[in-house]
């Protein structure tokens, strides 16, 4: 699936990620990639395609199926001056390397009073809606948001995917990247990317659509559901502001507060399980900080507190949707 490289060729989300990693590999001779099947195959989805041909085993490691050792070895490499991109074949398998992430990697800077920092990027395909069932659909970012020392990002567009990935690979801290696999090859979101090097700084939300009546805050695939809901709301005479936070940790609260000053109404959307998901965190922060601006109870639309089931009707039943967001936002608007 070679993409012609004329300057104004639109590129998909996957290509954006691929370019970001390839360009950082070229820029930073101390950068290494590790993961399962990322060499000759180029990764399950092809994000590392071509890297092994260019850099060889010295910088691109097909690893045994050992998530704990992959993260731990990467941690050692970073401790000793390298920058490591770790690919989880699916973000769901991060559970098998969990201890090495939350206890070894995340805390290294803290434990050493700053002597050590771990510039590691752990990235992988994430998200539901694609029939991946329980173990190929997860958005488990809340586990890591509750584990101090980790930054977390989740891009929703090719432009952001490339810019955030580059920022992550230049960040001196461990960053976990939730790549939305359903967006990898989505035609509708392809866009022309700048020819020159650019980053999207971590910790900056983006107002995707301006509006006055309600603020819908989300990230990942639900940005599109929120935009869909905004369409429906327009039909009902309400104008929704849609914010894509892009970075989960650290959160850009100011952008959201600014919006709430205008709309006075908040809907948070998140496909992770409801309890202790990031939607609750976001809602809490806004309630604490912007209570006075809120004219209606803020609302979360999240996955139900269930795993992601396989069969389509069940899967959609438990996940946020345009309809659910619309309904919730309407209720908030009409409060």
């Amino acid at each position: 699936m070679a993409v012609a490289v004329t300057p104004d060729t639109k590129k998909n989300y996957l290509t954006a990620l691929k370019e970001a990693i390839a360009e950082e590999m070229a820029r930073n001779p101390d950068m290494i990639c590790m993961g399962e099947d990322i060499g000759a195959l180029g990764g399950a989805f092809g994000v590392t395609d071509g890297l092994i041909a260019q850099y060889g085993r010295e910088r691109v490691y097909d690893m045994p199926i050992s998530e704990a050792a992959i993260v731990g070895t990467a941690c050692g490499l970073c401790l000793n001056g390298k920058t490591v991109m770790v690919e989880m074949q699916f973000i769901d398998f991060i559970s098998c390397g969990f201890d090495q992430i939350v206890n070894m990697t995340a805390t290294y800077h803290y434990r050493t009073a700053g002597e050590v920092n771990i510039p590691m990027v752990i990235r992988g395909p994430a998200g539901a809606y694609g029939g991946g069932a329980l173990y190929h659909s997860q958005m488990n970012e809340a586990w890591f948001a509750n584990s101090p020392g980790l930054k977390i990002i989740c891009p929703s567009t090719p432009y952001d995917a490339k810019g955030l990935m580059k920022a992550a690979l230049r960040d001196p801290n461990p960053v976990i990247v939730y790549e939305i696999k359903d967006l990898y090859r989505k035609r509708e979101i392809e866009e022309v990317l700048p020819e020159e090097d650019y980053v999207v700084p971590l910790g900056k939300a983006k107002v995707v659509q301006e509006g006055d009546d309600v603020t819908i805050v989300t990230y990942g695939q639900n940005v599109y559901h929120a935009l869909g809901a905004a369409e429906k709301l327009k039909e009902e005479g309400f104008s929704a502001e849609v914010i894509d936070i892009r970075t989960i940790v650290p959160l850009d609260e100011d952008t959201i507060v600014e919006s709430l000053k205008k709309t006075n109404r908040l809907v948070v959307v998140n496909e992770a399980p409801r309890t202790c998901g990031f939607a609750g965190e976001l809602l809490s922060r806004m309630t604490e900080r912007a209570f006075e601006y809120l004219d209606a109870p803020p609302v979360r639309i999240t996955r139900m507190d269930t795993p992601v089931p396989w069969v389509k009707p069940l899967e959609l039943y438990v996940l946020p949707s345009v309809a659910k967001i619309t309904e919730a936002a309407l209720k908030v608007c009409r409060y």
Partner: protein, 376 residues
């Protein structure tokens, strides 16, 4: 490193496999005929699914067991009905092959019906798990099949647990777990086998060494040629079987099973085989990116159907004519037709497929059900 398939029938570390003393010596000609039929069925199941998938009738990824069927058929044939198994992604036929000796249509059989397995593949409410999780992630408490998650090697400790419970209840069962060779790198593989060895639990870990873990060759997974050598770190038997030969698999697995059932603890049985297609059907067209064509050709050469037929001809329990009647062996999924299989095989599966196709989808509201069990 390890990329060739070897006939290792002679290399078994203990004397059990010397002629006259092998488990297979107890097999009758009828057993051989049954085993051959099961091989056909496993192959037919796989090619039929490949075709259905190509026609867009199935969701999810199909991990073909093509060319690896002898491992399932040979390992399951000698088990007792109450024994446990835990199949993994490439082992779909195991779900119905379990306790198949009790009769393909025996309603009391301790294995899944073909209708149940097909219902799972088609994602229907009649699947044992009501299609809440996908493909090989089914199981059955009553039929003694452990449900896997996707996390590789993750069912080995559960296998240790179920047989420990049986032992406490005075039941002498064995658990057979299936794992790709790549999965043996997982930490939980080590933890579970270590504990099973400490506690002498009757757990037999089968390693299906098909030379590849997705796009990664064995020499990046493990430093030695034989993954059975992992057993040496726990002082337990590590047998190597020719995974293309039902009878050799049967012999080695039965040695391990008898060792386990006699209270001597766990074993590892590595079965050398070769993955015929891509890792999953999504990978079929690009596997050549990492896997040289010659290797594929070489790896596919010893079709288990062919090996079995040759054995039977040599033993005088199959004529060349009979053998040639249904020439499925050596053919790819796209080349083979129903005529290449005994009719009872295609009919059996068709029954399952027809049932599944007509079966209802689960109701969407089931998505929110069974998160917790209500207390009594």
């Amino acid at each position: 490193m390890a990329t060739t398939t070897t006939d290792t029938a002679q290399t078994s570390p203990d004397g059990q496999s010397s002629p006259g003393n092998r488990p297979s010596d107890r097999l009758t000609p009828d057993d051989y005929r049954e085993l051959l039929k099961q091989l056909y069925l496993a192959r037919y199941f796989d090619v039929r699914l490949i075709k259905e998938k190509k026609r867009g009738r199935l969701r999810g990824t199909l991990y073909s067991s093509h060319n690896q069927e002898a491992i399932l058929v040979g390992s399951l044939y000698g088990l007792e009905p109450m024994d446990w198994i835990s199949p993994i992604h490439r082992d779909m036929p195991a779900f119905f092959l379990k306790d198949f000796r009790s009769g393909w249509d025996n309603p009391d059989r301790m294995g899944m019906t073909i209708e149940e397995v097909c219902s799972q593949v088609w994602g229907k409410a009649t699947s044992p798990g009501r299609a809440r999780d996908n493909w090989s992630h089914i199981g059955s408490k009553s039929k003694r099949i452990i449900h896997s998650t996707s996390m590789l090697a993750g069912t080995i400790p559960a296998a240790a647990g179920v047989v420990l419970a049986d032992r406490l209840n005075g039941l002498n069962t064995v658990a057979v777990t299936y794992n790709g060779e790549g999965s043996t790198a997982q930490g939980v593989f080590h933890e579970a086998i270590n504990f099973a060895a400490v506690e002498k639990l009757p757990v037999v870990t089968i390693i299906e060494n098909n030379q590849w873990a997705y796009g990664t060759p064995t020499h990046y997974e493990y430093p030695l040629e034989d993954f059975a050598r992992r057993a040496d770190g726990y002082g337990i038997p590590g047998l190597v079987a020719d995974g293309q030969d039902v009878i050799d698999v049967y012999n080695k697995v039965m040695q391990a099973v008898e060792h386990a059932r006699s209270g001597n603890g766990p074993s590892i049985v590595e079965c050398k085989t070769f993955r015929a297609y891509g890792h999953g059907d999504h990978d079929d067209d690009r596997a050549e990116k990492y896997r040289p064509a010659e290797e594929v050709e070489k790896g596919r050469k010893r079709d288990p159907l062919h090996v079995m037929k040759a054995r039977m001809i040599e033993m005088g329990i199959l004529t060349q004519e009979e053998a040639d009647k249904h020439p499925a062996e050596g053919k790819g999924a796209s080349e083979v037709t129903d005529a290449d299989f005994p009719p009872e095989v295609s009919e059996y599966l068709s029954r399952g497929v027809n049932f599944a196709v007509k079966a209802p989808l689960p109701d969407e509201t089931e998505g929110a059900m069974w998160v917790f069990k209500e207390g009594e």
